[in-house]
Symmetry: C2
Subunit: 151 residues, 2 copies
Amino acid sequence: MAYSMGEFLAHAIAMEREAAERYLELADMMEAHNNLEVSGLFRDMVRYSTMHGDSIVARAGSMELPKLRSWQYRWIAPTEVGEEDGFDYRLKPYQALEYARVNEQRAAEFYQAAADAASDPEVRKLALEFAAEEREHTAALDRKLAATLRS
Amino acid sequence: MAYSMGEFLAHAIAMEREAAERYLELADMMEAHNNLEVSGLFRDMVRYSTMHGDSIVARAGSMELPKLRSWQYRWIAPTEVGEEDGFDYRLKPYQALEYARVNEQRAAEFYQAAADAASDPEVRKLALEFAAEEREHTAALDRKLAATLRS
């Protein structure tokens, strides 16, 4: 889909805000598991998402942004990551990392697709930059997954 | 999982609030499609969810309820209902009905599982009642799906 700059920024802001909220939940959950390493990684992600979101808001300035629908930016639930009981309170570290990974991957794909379809060269440039950032996050999660026992 | 009354009510309230918000989005979206029949069904669902949520809040009274995690009550995204582009703005009537149906079915299963696992007979009674309600919603969506062109 060829997004206008406003549409693109609206997606990016909503996705960064959502990521910050989800990572905060996950960080708290990992503290409850006494897993301070994974919790620390998630807190870093909260910071990156918040800073990135703030910088996109600043860039948007007074531009009017469209209102998005929840399904355009919400993370997909960990049920889809192979859980039977999507309503379970607990996520173990491995599951939490997988949950985040699926959604970072999805964000990277969103940005890459936006770049590929872009007609506005500025949208394309930003989308490529954001896609690269999301791939870095995915790689960081992969490294932590490799060091975490599947449970 | 054998929920205490407080845990059970917290789930039920969060799920009804979430359903009301999602149905409101869907109703607006269907109006944008000029599909007033499906929009009307969704608006009825907003009303049922809101009233049901309010009655559960009243029942909980001053009981202290646990804070839930987003993945315990959020609807699963329409991506999982077979969409390739989970970030697409538009949902056509058939997809919107399927999206709702998946989540009503999931709610019915949640309540049924809570009833099956309950040790508190009051939790069991309520959970069975709520499961039956969700199955009625699922049936209403099925009737509308049967009358709607797949697109």
